[in-house]
């Protein structure tokens, strides 16, 4: 499971910035203490829909140390952004509760906060609509969902389902979920004449620069974006968020460097979330388990500020062979905060529903759920008809089953007791697409025999610096310690974001190309530049996806309804694994996030107020150590020549895909009850046990 002997690729190299992070030396966006730096604090809208009538700033401005209060009436004007969540303080309209309606700027954080509280905002309130989406008349079928068609249909799914010998017709629900990275969304902005520098917590500084250039009507070369260390993002920092725009506005308005670290409790309404989904799954099958119809119909919601469609239905276009397929999306715009990307958007909720429904089908058929999946293995990608570049989901299932001890599993639900506990095991498959974007990079040969690789990649905690050095050392044919990586700065060659599990593949491709050329043609040095435009983004004749399988064992307490996970095993086929240590961390981290999705995490859309009351880490329940059992992740060797020069697939997200289904299926195996709404909290479990009781 490590790379070729002698090659730095695949080696479990330690994270290069680990010591800096451990000792506190690593600087994050809010920690750039520029001379004269001021602090900002937002004022969130206290109504769910309406207009700001007036902002009385007099009491705030009277506080010693307050520099300014920006309001929708006097903040500097921006060009109209494509992402309208960034049109902050540009007009008095309030699209949802929590929307920023003023920004206090002061000498200190405490003063800025006190000033924000002293701002008096009056509103003209309008009625708001916060759902529910079920049967809502305001919905529509979007053209696109996650960059793919909103609707895909093959054959005659209705007829095929109606005439199927075995049928499953179920509805699964996933609640709103929040990314909540450890580091909040934070930016420090500084103007020097008409030059803007921002230090920001972002998954992609290149896009931050281009968006700021457009908003502030500046040429890109006058903007510098630094994102050296980023304390997690999980998608919520994939595009510029309001913090960076507000910090830049405040810095321009006050003439001082300004830091805005968005307060944790205001994040849920402002930086995005996984939109809730209601997914109807209809599966028709022959008695031997072969699927004859798959209908996956998703209803979700978005805000009225921008359309974001949680594309949960796309997984059914990839996973199983069926002659009759329907995968559709329906979205309802509401007066609620805007959803956005959250780790494996589409795939994570979609595979929860599909893989749970498949387990129900296995039950209905009396067939082992591993075997059912094997029997429906497609030869080509069902929706596109393309051959797979590689697909080893069956191998993942078989290897996982072997290691987990699946063989001989008693399929009967609700029969394994240990005192008050009910025990069960479950399985689910995983998939995530291979995506790549063009990138540039340079490789420099230094006189001392070392090399420097430069590109504006983002290391959001994944170990990007480290793995890029490994890719470079491999292409250069030199030991790892002779390569240095510089990332996280727009002075470096442009590179795409860390998102869509495509960072390493996209950046690595350019790094590999630059280094390989430098090694082959040292005379072109000392600096060689590569640009993968046209190659990294070329259409492939292949359907390219990573796959995996999760196995879970749970104990359900019949006294309290509490579920404890005993074991979680994930086996993945994701091309070549480039760093065994950081890859394992990505897989297990995502599996733990999937555990949270299954059991503990949820935001509640408060229909009365139009926002989410879970606004801190005490009430939004990510799993704590005590929730996390023996989590094991491993992979099978996969050689795929149709990817990038490293032969790798993205690994940042697939670990969360399918985890919740494996756990939910295990809960059914334990209790004999199908719980079809996440998370599986004690209230739901206990109610289920009682009604079955």
């Amino acid at each position: 499971m490590t790379g070729t002997t002698g090659s730095p690729l695949g080696a479990p190299a330690e994270r290069r910035e680990g010591r800096q992070k451990l000792t506190g030396a690593a600087r994050y966006a809010a920690e750039y203490t520029l001379p004269g730096r001021a602090q900002a604090w937002p004022v969130p809208a206290a109504v769910a829909h309406g207009r700001v009538r007036a902002v009385d700033t007099s009491a705030a401005l009277a506080l010693p140390g307050v520099l300014a209060v920006l309001t929708p009436f006097d903040a500097p004007r921006l060009a109209e952004p494509e992402d309208r969540t960034l049109a902050v303080l540009q007009n008095p309209h309030v699209p949802h509760r929590g929307w920023c309606v003023a920004l206090a700027v002061a000498d200190t954080l405490e003063t800025a906060r006190a000033a924000a509280r002293a701002v008096r905002v009056t509103y003209d309130t309008s009625p708001h609509d916060a759902g529910p989406v079920d049967g809502h008349p305001g919905g529509y079928d979007p053209e696109e969902a996650g960059g793919q068609p909103g609707r895909v249909e093959h054959g005659d799914p209705d007829a095929a389902f109606a005439s199927a010998e075995v049928r499953v017709d179920v509805v699964y629900r996933v609640p709103p979920l929040h990314n909540h990275p450890m580091e909040p969304h934070a930016s420090t902005a500084h103007w020097d004449g008409d030059r803007l520098t921002v230090y920001t917590s972002s998954q992609g500084g290149t896009a931050v620069r281009s968006v700021l250039a457009q908003l502030f009507r500046l040429p890109e070369e006058r903007i510098t974006v630094v994102a050296e260390h980023v304390g997690g993002g999980f998608g919520s920092k994939g595009t510029p968020r309001p913090d960076v725009v507000l910090a830049a506005l405040a810095a321009r308005h006050t003439g001082r460097p300004v830091t805005l670290a968005y307060p944790r409790r205001d994040l849920p309404a402002v930086v995005g979330h996984r939109a809730p989904t209601v997914q109807r799954l209809r599966l028709g099958a022959r008695p031997d388990g072969r699927l004859t119809a798959v209908l996956h119909e998703v209803t979700t919601q978005t805000s009225r500020v921008r359309e974001f469609v949680e594309y949960a239905g796309v997984v059914s276009r990839v996973m199983y062979a069926t002659p009759n397929l329907r995968s559709t999306h329906h979205v309802v715009p509401l007066d609620v905060p805007s959803p956005s990307w959250m780790r494996a958007p589409g795939e994570a909720p979609g595979m929860y529903a599909l893989e749970s429904a498949l387990d129900e089908l296995a039950d209905a058929l009396g067939l082992d759920p591993v075997e059912l999946r094997v029997r429906n293995e497609p030869e080509r990608e069902p929706a596109s008809g393309k051959p797979f570049s590689s697909r080893h989901v069956v191998e993942c299932l078989r290897e996982g089953a072997r290691r987990f001890g699946w063989a001989g599993r008693d399929p009967r639900p609700g029969v394994r007791r240990e005192g008050p506990l009910l025990l069960g095991t479950g399985v689910a498959a995983a998939t995530y697409p291979v995506q790549t974007a063009p990138s540039t990079a340079t490789a420099e040969a230094r006189p001392d025999g070392t090399f420097v690789v430069r590109l504006n990649a983002a290391d959001i905690g994944t170990g990007a610096r480290t793995v890029l050095a490994q890719i470079a050392a491999d292409a250069l044919g030199v030991p790892l310690d002779r390569v240095r990586t510089e990332v996280g700065h727009t002075d470096l060659p442009p590179a795409p974001l860390a998102g869509g599990s495509m960072g390493t593949a996209s950046w690595g491709w350019a790094v590999h190309e630059a280094c390989a050329r430098l090694a082959a043609h040292p005379e072109q040095g000392p600096v060689v530049r590569a640009d993968t435009t046209g190659t990294a983004d070329a259409d492939s004749p292949y359907a390219r996806h990573a796959f995996g399988a999760h196995f879970a064992e749970v104990a359900v307490d019949t006294v309290t309804g509490e579920i404890r996970v005993r074991r979680l095993l994930g086996i993945f086929a994701a091309g070549r694994i480039l760093n065994a240590r950081t890859a394992r961390s990505q897989f297990t981290g995502a599996m733990i996030m999937g555990l949270g999705m299954a059991l503990t995490e949820h935001s509640t859309l408060d229909r009365a107020f139009g926002d989410f009351p879970e606004s801190d880490l005490a009430s939004y329940h990510v799993p704590v150590h005590a929730d996390v059992p023996a989590v094991e992740a491993d992979w099978i060797d996969e050689h795929d020549p149709h990817l990038n020069p490293m032969g790798s697939k993205g690994i940042g997200e697939i670990g969360i895909v399918g985890t919740a289904a494996a756990l939910g299926n295990a809960v059914h195996h334990a209790t004999g009850i199908r719980f079809r709404e996440l998370p599986l909290t004690p209230d739901r479990i206990l109610a289920g046990l009682l009604s079955e009781g």
């Binding site: 509280r117 004690p682 209230d683 009682l690």
Partner: protein, 331 residues
């Protein structure tokens, strides 16, 4: 910024005098809740009187077999005290079921008793809350209230008391020792917290300026079997959906002494007096336990989304009662 004074008194007397002399004063001990509320703007004291260094951090055995716990004894220290673990195990278990290790290291006995509700509407200045701002309304009643009260709530407030420790203390017949300008007094922990009624802004019966100086664990419950059990949304660092503390002594198959208190169900630790009355002198059987517990929970008035708490509390209480009851002697 909104400033506040800071004072570190040299004695309890000095502390209460300072409080009396400064309208808007608050006592500060571990600060694990108060400092959060300061940041949120829910608490805006004019003066913080830091009692953290007063000599209130001792645990002392009294001649009658009771244990006097100082107000600033840390939750982690109290949970680990061998006397508590041995004689009042429900208290140790409750403390360890609360918060996180870091918080328990900072939080104090007195502070734990005075912590405020974690109702999200109480914490959000942008929403109505009769507890934070009397007369503004209750956001939770029509909003999100899965975690809220099922017993003893009022039209004005459905908040719950978040403490685990207080639930065990209530069941154990512990007393709160108070000191104010009018002198010292004691209150049973079970009667220390109020129901919301018309005045949800008042959490307890403490008088303005009174300082908790300690908690007394009585000899009467020392060594009596006791236990605490809590159900929550994750395995650690989550408030109780429901919890129960039980003190139970059975002699010759008959309940001889009993204390039952629920957490997570009400504005205060809910001492289950109906259950206790029914059980005292009754046979210690599962059927008797169930009947007695249901007598109490029959008073529950669940809200739209929290009826589960009633059967959760039922299950928890029966589990702990049955566990504490000695197995019937073989025939």
């Amino acid at each position: 910024m909104t400033g506040f004074g800071y004072l570190r008194p040299g004695s309890v007397q000095e502390a209460v005098e300072a409080y009396a002399a400064h309208p808007g004063a608050r006592y500060l001990a571990g600060g694990t809740n108060l400092v959060d509320l300061l940041k949120l703007g829910v608490e805006r004291p004019a003066l913080l009187i830091d009692i953290g260094r007063l000599p209130l951090d001792g645990v002392e055995e009294l001649p009658d077999g009771s244990l006097r716990v100082g107000a600033t004894v840390r939750n982690s220290d109290l949970a680990a005290d061998p006397r508590v673990r041995e004689r009042w195990p429900a208290l140790s278990q409750a403390l360890l079921a609360g918060a996180s290790a870091q918080l328990r290291n900072a939080a104090t006995t007195g502070g734990n008793l005075l912590q405020r509700t974690r109702c999200p509407y109480f914490q959000d200045l942008g929403k109505p809350c009769n507890k934070r701002e009397p007369g503004s309304g209750c956001g939770a009643r029509e909003g999100v209230h899965r975690d809220h009260a099922v017993l003893g709530h009022s039209e004005l407030c459905i908040a719950t008391n978040p403490s685990d420790m207080a639930v065990a203390l209530a069941a154990l017949d512990a007393q709160v020792e108070l000191y104010g300008t009018d002198g010292a007094r004691r209150l049973p922990v079970a009667d220390f917290h109020r129901l919301p009624g018309e005045h949800p802004e008042r959490d307890t019966w403490i008088r303005p300026g009174e300082l908790i100086t300690g908690v007394l664990l009585p000899a009467a419950t020392a060594g009596v079997p006791s236990a605490y059990r809590k159900a929550r949304d994750r395995a650690s660092y989550a408030f109780a959906l429901a919890s129960v503390a039980v003190v139970l002594r059975v002699a010759d198959g008959v309940v001889d002494q009993v204390g039952v208190a629920f957490g997570g169900l009400a504005h205060r630790p809910w001492r289950a007096r109906h259950t206790e009355l029914a059980l005292l002198g009754a046979p210690a059987t599962p059927a008797a336990f169930e009947g007695a517990v249901d007598l109490e929970l029959a008073h529950a008035e669940p809200l739209r989304d929290n009826a589960y708490k009633v059967f959760l509390a039922h299950n928890l209480a029966l589990d702990v009662l049955n566990r504490l009851a000695p197995a019937p002697a073989p025939a």
